[in-house]
Symmetry: C2
Subunit: 193 residues, 2 copies
């Protein structure tokens, strides 16, 4: 097995375990067992557990971006593309192993003690906001709407995680629709005056 596939197996296994049980609750030996890669090899690929956590977060960042972009691309109009973000959340919340946002969870667990983890989480959230901002601008809406939609998305994630009820996605979607339409109405009003 070459380094690349070993690395992949370790990251995938660690992701699964960390997400399901939390980082502290999972020992490196459990990662070794799940990944079927020796501890020696793991430590040759990742200098420390902290580095592995960061690698897992980067991996999740890519996965998330890929899935989100696919969901958005499937929508027809700019307005639907904005709301597709929340449909994407809805589908995610309904998955059996949904346990909230891995980034928010990791931040709560390690943000105070690991600057590298805190930075990885910050980067992911910033990237998401940037992505939403792009969608908002396509719609010709003011930038502030992007921040509002991002806040709705974050709130839906924590609410769904803690309450265990996926309904938060639909509620956030409805709120997003109201915000978007209100901004559209204001824009049209402004342009017609």
């Amino acid at each position: 097995m070459d380094d690349e596939t070993a690395r992949d197996q370790v990251v995938t296994a660690a992701d699964r375990l960390f997400y399901a049980h939390g980082v502290h609750a999972v020992g490196m030996d459990a990662v070794r067992a799940e990944a079927q890669v020796s501890l020696k090899r793991i430590y040759s690929l990742f200098p420390s557990k902290d580095d592995l956590v960061v690698a897992v977060l980067h991996h999740r960042t890519e996965q998330w971006a890929t899935g989100l972009e696919a969901a958005v691309r499937a929508a027809a109009t700019p307005r639907d593309r904005l709301l597709a973000v929340f449909d994407f959340l809805d589908a995610w919340f309904r998955e059996d192993d949904f346990r909230g946002c891995a980034f928010i969870n990791s931040f709560g667990e390690l943000g105070a003690t690991s600057p590298a983890v805190a930075e990885a989480v910050r980067a992911q959230k910033a990237a998401f906001q940037e992505y939403v901002l792009g969608l908002v601008r396509e719609e010709g809406l003011p930038d502030v709407v992007a921040a509002q939609l991002a806040i709705l998305a974050e709130g839906a994630q924590t609410t769904a995680a803690i309450s265990g009820d996926p309904a938060a996605a639909a509620q956030a979607r409805e709120a997003a629709a109201v915000l978007v339409d209100a901004a559209l109405a204001r824009g049209e009003h402004a342009s017609t005056v």
Copy 2:
């Protein structure tokens, strides 16, 4: 020192330490040092660290409710009372030691391993939603608005915590105002038709 004040000192000290550094990062010995209460005493008051964590969360729940209710009471109109929730968040986010919502952080850290902690967090969030629901009904708005406002509040908390920027409160407040006004307009429209 009687049991009650000892208990208070321990909970207050543990709250400060857990919030600042996370639960795992703080040993019971650090709690003992900060609270100036012997380990023996601590363990006679709380059977385990987990029980202490739950006690801290309950303490925070009361503190939060008290502060929020005071902020809401200071507002004049029902609409202002709804928005006062976000002004309360704004003031909180600007505090020097703000490190996000302790409940969300604790859930991320321990929710997967400690049912008692998960339940305490769930209870706090449910109580908050219930409180917002009361304010929304005072305004004569449909219940769904309460869920939307609660999601905005949660999103503002995680966004402010991760980005480190208190602006999320003002952005959420603006979104809340739009949602409330839209609901009011729909209501008036419905009653005038």
